[in-house]
């Protein structure tokens, strides 16, 4: 049975969503994450085991390779698609509370900025690590972030910006968020940011790559 979990992890890591999936070429015509997850459940493997030892493990591997510059953005995208395909079978167990996510993370691209690919990639890696993502989209105002904090009670917030002009909006957004909940952790990311800038605006965490953000979140003491 361990073998099928390894196979699921490989399918996620390599972006093999289902039997019809054309990539990777060497796995063409073979079962993907969708079919193998279904099979694992039919064989009595616990959904939590499939999630942790198969799906999350596969996403972790691709996240680490991305951090090490060994794979490109599209490799992460097809891995996330494979994970999503398998999650169709796992989601009902979240609804029945048989398994739980690690917590909620609210994410958004800050006001004035319409770029979302970077934010989406981080969201995919974090979601692939077992967290629930509440994606507020792009051009998100401080007011919307604050509303989401009150409504979803997230473990942390992720702010993204691609422009030097829009990253300036992060400071006021962080202030507003911390006014509502001073303990909530705020992660920031985006091409023009630096550790120095993140420190100056009161962010709790900055990294140029998503796997570090996931590891930071996994290290938080969430009750």
């Amino acid at each position: 049975m361990e073998n099928i979990l390894d196979e699921i992890a490989v399918c996620v890591e390599r972006g093999k969503s289902n039997i019809q999936s054309p990539y990777p070429p060497d796995l063409k015509g073979k079962e993907g994450a969708f079919e193998l997850t279904q099979k694992a459940l039919e064989n009595g493997i616990k959904p939590s085991e499939i999630l942790n030892e198969g799906l999350i493990k596969g996403m972790q591997r691709i996240g680490e390779k991305f951090r090490a510059n060994k794979v490109f953005v599209p490799d992460v995208l097809i891995a996330a698609k494979a994970m999503n395909a398998a999650m169709v079978h796992i989601k009902p167990f979240f609804i029945s509370n048989e398994i739980k996510t690690k917590g909620k993370i609210v994410m958004g691209t800050v006001a004035g900025d319409l770029h979302d690919i970077g934010k989406n990639i981080v969201a995919m890696i974090i979601q692939g690590g077992g967290w629930e993502i509440v994606d507020l989209g792009v051009d998100v105002s401080a007011e919307k972030f604050v509303k989401a904090v009150e409504e979803h009670k997230p473990a942390a917030i992720g702010l993204s910006a691609l422009l030097t002009t829009t990253m300036l909006n992060m400071e006021s957004i962080i202030k507003e968020i911390k006014t509502v909940n001073e303990d909530i952790k705020v992660l920031v990311g985006g091409a023009p940011l630096s550790q120095e800038y993140a420190d100056s605006i009161g962010a709790d965490f900055f990294s140029p790559n998503p796997q570090d953000a996931l590891e930071y979140l996994n290290g938080l003491n969430i009750n």
């Binding site: 990539y23 995208l77 996330a80 698609k81 319409l114 030097t164 002009t165």
Partner: protein, 244 residues
């Protein structure tokens, strides 16, 4: 026989004139190989991906509205010093990398180029329904098309400058090589309203998103130089490494 020198046109006819072009997609000659460099070798090893990229490129005109143009500024109101460019009552803080490459310029041409909205909106549509890679392919083709249009207008500016007895520098854009993207507002104030159909948001973001703007120095003694990525702090710039 006439030489180019004999045929040099008077520079005065260019001053403060703006020129706008609408291009058919095939004019840019975007090749699959240039898109593959955005996708990485593992993904592009798949024949299905190659086919998908080819199909989009074949129908590129369906998704694009390529427009580009330029305006040559009045040399009598133009000046560059180390770090700054002055035009009329405007001061641009270009920082060191760009300003030193413009020092010998007699004036500049401001240019814009856009792929239009189609590729970007198709990318968003696909991504929102979970077709992440397919959406990313459209997004990459959008970026490549905007860059292709910018390269086309750069060549047009080079040709026009040569016809008027001038040489050109490389092109430089707000947001790169240390030049703040905030100054895009000042730059656009020197162009006709909605030039090439591009507008600016308050945060200086161009709309359509797949657009490029910038300046090219013109003068008898300027030269084209490579981008100075090794001395630039902006390491996430696509010129540093396109793939990440």
């Amino acid at each position: 026989m006439n030489t180019i020198k004999d045929n040099i046109k008077p520079f005065d006819e260019l001053i403060n004139q703006s020129f706008e072009f609408e291009l058919p997609a095939d004019e840019l000659r975007i090749e699959r190989e240039s898109i593959e460099s955005w996708l990485g070798e593992k993904i592009t090893a798949s024949p299905e991906i190659k086919l998908q990229v080819d199909e989009i490129l074949k129908d590129l005109s369906k998704y694009t509205e390529i427009r580009c143009g330029f305006k040559v500024l009045d040399p009598s109101q133009f000046r560059v010093t180390k770090g700054f460019m002055f035009y009329s009552d405007l001061t641009f803080n270009l920082e060191k990398i760009i300003s030193t490459r413009l020092l010998k310029s007699e004036t500049i041409a401001i240019f814009t180029a856009t792929a239009g909205n189609g590729l970007e909106s198709e990318a968003r549509k696909l991504m929102s329904k979970g077709d992440l890679l397919e959406g990313y392919i459209f997004d990459s083709i959008g970026s490549e098309t905007a860059e292709g249009a910018a390269a086309w207008i750069e060549k047009m500016i080079d040709k026009t400058a040569e016809e008027h007895g001038l040489k050109t520098t490389s092109r430089y854009s707000p947001g790169y090589c240390g030049w703040s993207v905030k100054e895009q507002h000042m730059l656009f104030s020197l162009l006709p309203e909605s030039f090439c159909g591009i507008s600016l948001t308050e945060s200086a973001l161009m709309y359509p998103i797949k657009s490029v703007s910038g300046i090219i120095g013109l003068g008898k003694e300027v030269t084209k130089e490579d981008y100075q990525c090794s001395v630039c702090d902006y390491t996430d710039c696509f010129r540093h490494h396109k793939l990440r």
